[in-house]
Amino acid sequence: MAKSKNQPKLELIKAEELAQQQREISVAAFFEKNRHLLGFDSPVKALATAVKEMVDNSLDACEEMHVLPNIIVIIKESGENRYIVSVEDNGPGIVKEQIPRVFAKLLYGSKFYRFFQSRGQQGLGVSASILYGQLTTGKPAKITSRISPKKPTHYYELHIDIAKNEPEIVVDKEIEWIKDHGTKVEIELEGKYQKGRLSVDEYLKQAAIANPHLNLVYIDPLKEKVEFKRVTNELPEEPKEIKPHPYGIELGVLIRMLRNTESRNLRSFLTNEFSRVSNAVADEIINKTGLKPDLKPKEISTQDADKIFRVIQQVKIMLPPTDCLSPIGEDLLLKGLKKEINAEFYAAISRSPAVYRGIPFEIEVAIAYGGSSFQQDELVRVIRFANRVPLIYQQSACAITRSILNTDWKNYGLQQSKGALPIGPALITVHIASVWVPFTSESKEAIAHYDEIIKEIKLALQECGRKLQTYIRKTVRVKEAKERISLFEKYIPEVANSLSILTGKKKELIVISLNKMLKKGLPELIAQANGENQNGKAKE
């Protein structure tokens, strides 16, 4: 305060003046400033994220229609650090009226308000890619879609009105298309294409592993064509939609549900909108809150909603049904892995479903070991999947990585430094299937560290690890046997030398005799070294 004299006098600003600057921020405007939250933080990542979001959408669409997905991905260079990404599928297509909003409005989608296992969750991905393309190149997204051979094919060019988060139609026309049904999305964006672990190529390869029913043709910017072939005609079992479980709900969601429900009173709201809430459970919740059972949901205050929210956690409620999940399955996981990764040994485990925060999930783990695709002394490669979507970035922040680090791989035949990934010629794949995968951020790159999830992953890793250990032990034994046989050749001159000292006989002659005997007795020694025939009178 003593220094106040020297400070320039600041004018007081009235709240009314501030209010002039306060206004609603559109989601689109928010993400314009925070593009990293959606995975567009660098040109390399931006390109990969766009492809990922578009392919995820196509896969979900095909599966919802029960059709085996045929997807074509083309990336073309259109200028310096500019690419046109085109993804085309044979899915159900989108009705004309919905096309602009599905693609050119953020947070518009079919999945957010439904509780079932799908790749996309928030209806953010593709429109965010379009927004990113628009921000970096100014070009509109081009959408082609047809829902049936009897209907015309619609072609749109769309911008997003950032201030309003609304679509802005640039072109809207009907065109000819050879496809009976499907959707093609084309986005021009600023990006950078490169090969390697964090590339588009790697993402597509992993997607092919997790989706053995997918046939994908990919033409990269160097115009090279790669086809990831389908290895099964089995579509993944259709995930069932479930109602949210009370334990997994957040206060905000509860309030929103209370506003939107069609139930007429609190009691029916609880029994209708949630899974596992019987009349008895609903009564118990209501009794504990002290509210009236016939209260109209829309009239429940925020404080009362908070009361309900707290009471729910204290009431014993049966865990949610888990038959709503659609895991890849051990067989198909192995098939997918085998076609893309060349290894000597494979093992896969699907755990039974478990529950975190009232949300069902299921863990699957597969390991590939040995062979030419691996380096002997490198850290093992980790492939992470969430609802069949490869997670490429933020490996170190992910609960899957944490679980691998916390598993003692020395028990399973791999080397491991403290707090590090194991070392060895191996690849570890972990898949989490859930109606709601808890990601650490909107860009869906890493899974949050829930104890229940980490525990399940570790159990699956250990189960798979034991299979690996059995294999490694066996191969190590064979290798050791070979080494032991080769030792005879090295021992012979030594024994001969010592015998020569003891007896005065010529070393060379002893060496020749012993070598002859070695040649003759080799098959028996090999059998012995393999532990097949131990009839030697073993003293030791």
């Binding site: 046997a481 090295k490 030594e494 024994v495 000292i501 005997m517 070695l518 070294a529 030697g536």
Partner: protein
Amino acid sequence: MVKIKMVKQKNKSAEKLKDLGNKVVDDIDKGKNPIITFSLRNLSNIVFDSKTRTLKLGDKIGSRSFFNVAHSKKFLQTIEIASILKKELLESGKHEHLRGVFYMAKRTIPGTNVNIVDEQSESDDIIEDLEVITGLSREQLHVSANKMGSMVGNVVLEDSGDTIDCSKLGRGGYSIPSITDELEFKKINAKYILYMEKAAIFERLNEDKFWQKNNSILVTSQGQTTRGIRRLLQRLSEEKDLPIYVLTDFDCWGFYIYSVIKYGSIALAHASEKLTIPGVKFLGITADDIIKYDLKKHLIKLNDQDLKRMKQVSEYEWFKDNKDWQRQLKMMKDFGAKAEIQSLSAKGISFISETYLPNKIKTKDFLE
């Protein structure tokens, strides 16, 4: 005389090793998988010979052949160490410690990352095998171990050409070498030998000139009795007909020290003949001493290990049918405690040399 005897032994040992080599080379010449056979040294082949009352090797035979995945390395070690002993020690007339032999054998086989031996225990083990194979003692193969014992008394002996008077060696006494086969006793004037487990008691008795006053020889080692000391005691007992009394703590470890001197040990069963002294007697401390001299307040409670060891010791064949020893063990169990020799100091610093020992010896209060 001694020199000639030594040279003879040296040649005999070298010949035995050569025999081993010849046998192996014979096999090779005949196109047979070379094999070395010898008495097994493991526990399953240790027997208590009730006639000689010593621990001996049984008649189980083990074999080690070169073209056998499980044996080849040990076969190589055996032949290599035999050649080292012959060439480096016997032929040059030098002695080497177990540790030295280990370093002589420790080298990497060219073209591999395999060492002939990695640990001293491996070469020690092979040397014991060679003792069994050749029927020679380690000492005869010119291999020595750490010396850990002293002797004092009216003994004049010759050690490698030096004449030593064990009555003129001050507080430390004569430091017993690890190989005592070649010592020559020139003059001995003593009625008995007192062997004790503890060097501290040895120092006490030496300071009190116990050996002078009682015309005896005092011998000690630290803990277990080394081969060199056992061989020395055996020779003094056999060659000079001197009785040997053993003084240890009143615990199972002490009893076992006595047992090893008298009956032999599991590890050296193959060498029993040259080490055991059937006539040796146990002087103390006994349970009766503890009662007689009122030492009960100095007892130390038995721990789990003591109890475990007590069970083992009481079941040894040579203790099992011995009423006196079973009585001692039972009393120890009843006390639930053990006692150290030093507890006698509670009765006065020289109580042991002036009262305890003279009384015990005078009344022949021994255990067999």
